[in-house]
Symmetry: C2
Subunit: 181 residues, 2 copies
DNA sequence: CCGTCTTGTGGTTATCCACTCACCAGTCTC
DNA sequence: GAGACTGGTGAGTGGATAACCACAAGACGG
């Protein structure tokens, strides 16, 4: 029949599309709140095959975190390219200024947020720490900034993350305006 | 029998003990990852009665968040009392300095972290925003600090939160040292 | 001491979930 | 074109889970 012309991919390709679609699935309700069936459906494969591609749910989620770690670094790299100079100050300023655009990728943001919550699961905790390690070292390398400045950058970034997560942008109240300022 | 001498409380009292014990239950694996049975067991009541005390799981979790909001404010108030003067700068410094002690209450921290993740659930999102609103306005009132300074305080606090959540204190690597600095 | 109100308990149900396994169908190799 | 390999499915399994309900038992007012 017509559907005989079924798309077949290599396992590696499939793994990749699964990771990309799984981001959207997990973003909404996190690790515990999302079933492997939902993830499989989002990727357009059977749940059975999902378990052939990934050992178990925890490994799958950790892989999703790693994938997001990549995406985040790419985003930040693009932001770094907008700096006026290679002076540490200028680079960090550019990063901070365009961080809003980085987290306009809401799915990415939500995955990282959820991942922090279930960092207690050993495999996932590892992935989260790996993500932070890469982020910090990348920012350090690209900016050459001092510890204090880098710390400040991450603190600001985390605040922005939360503001987006709790949809504070839609709130017109003093507290929200203060944290946005 | 001896157990005939069963403790009986008013519903209000029970509600309170449930909230206190539920904090520990939800802290480990968050809203989605924790069953109502676990919460009931931790409070020493039947699951059925839990549903008499709280309409549903979402309402229960939102109440837990509100309870944590109280606990957090008390903690911060205690920290504010250690300030050298009532100058905004001094008060905020005192708050920041003793924030580590505030989040030594790991359960409280984890609840707030998990709550951010499921702020998409309407009832819970409301509770989280309420929590931030009270926190910000309390810090503003007790310190009299300017918007920028308050914002900085919260950004630092959030970074500390994450460091604890992902157990970065146990990591001996440059990135972890940078973020702790 | 009786009726009523509230605290509190099992048990039930319908659904869902992580994970497994037997099996089908292209495709590559010799 | 046979045999082996790999992509992929669908139906299960055992256990958990949110929410409901009928009913028990202690307290309390009259």
């Amino acid at each position: 029949m017509a559907t005989g012309v079924r798309q077949r991919s290599t396992a590696a390709q499939r793994r990749d599309t699964v990771l990309r679609t799984a981001v959207a699935a997990f973003a909404a309700r996190g690790y515990y709140g999302t079933s492997t069936m939902e993830v499989a459906a989002a990727a357009g494969i059977s749940q059975g095959y999902l378990y052939r591609l990934f050992k178990d749910k925890q490994t799958l989620f950790a892989a999703v975190v790693d994938h997001c770690s990549d995406r985040l670094r790419e985003s930040v790299a693009a932001a770094a390219a907008t700096a006026r100079s290679t002076e540490p100050q200028d680079v960090l300023e550019a990063l901070t200024a365009s961080y809003d655009e980085v987290i306009a990728d809401r799915e990415l943001l939500m995955i990282l947020l959820h991942a922090q919550g279930c960092a207690g699961e050993p495999v996932i905790g590892e992935a989260v720490r790996r993500c932070y390690a890469r982020q910090v070292e990348y920012v350090r390398a690209v900016s050459g900034a001092a510890e204090q400045q880098i710390r400040r950058y991450f603190a600001d970034a985390l605040l922005s993350n939360v503001m987006v997560a709790i949809d504070a942008a839609a709130v017109d109240a003093p507290w929200a305006r203060t944290l946005r300022a």
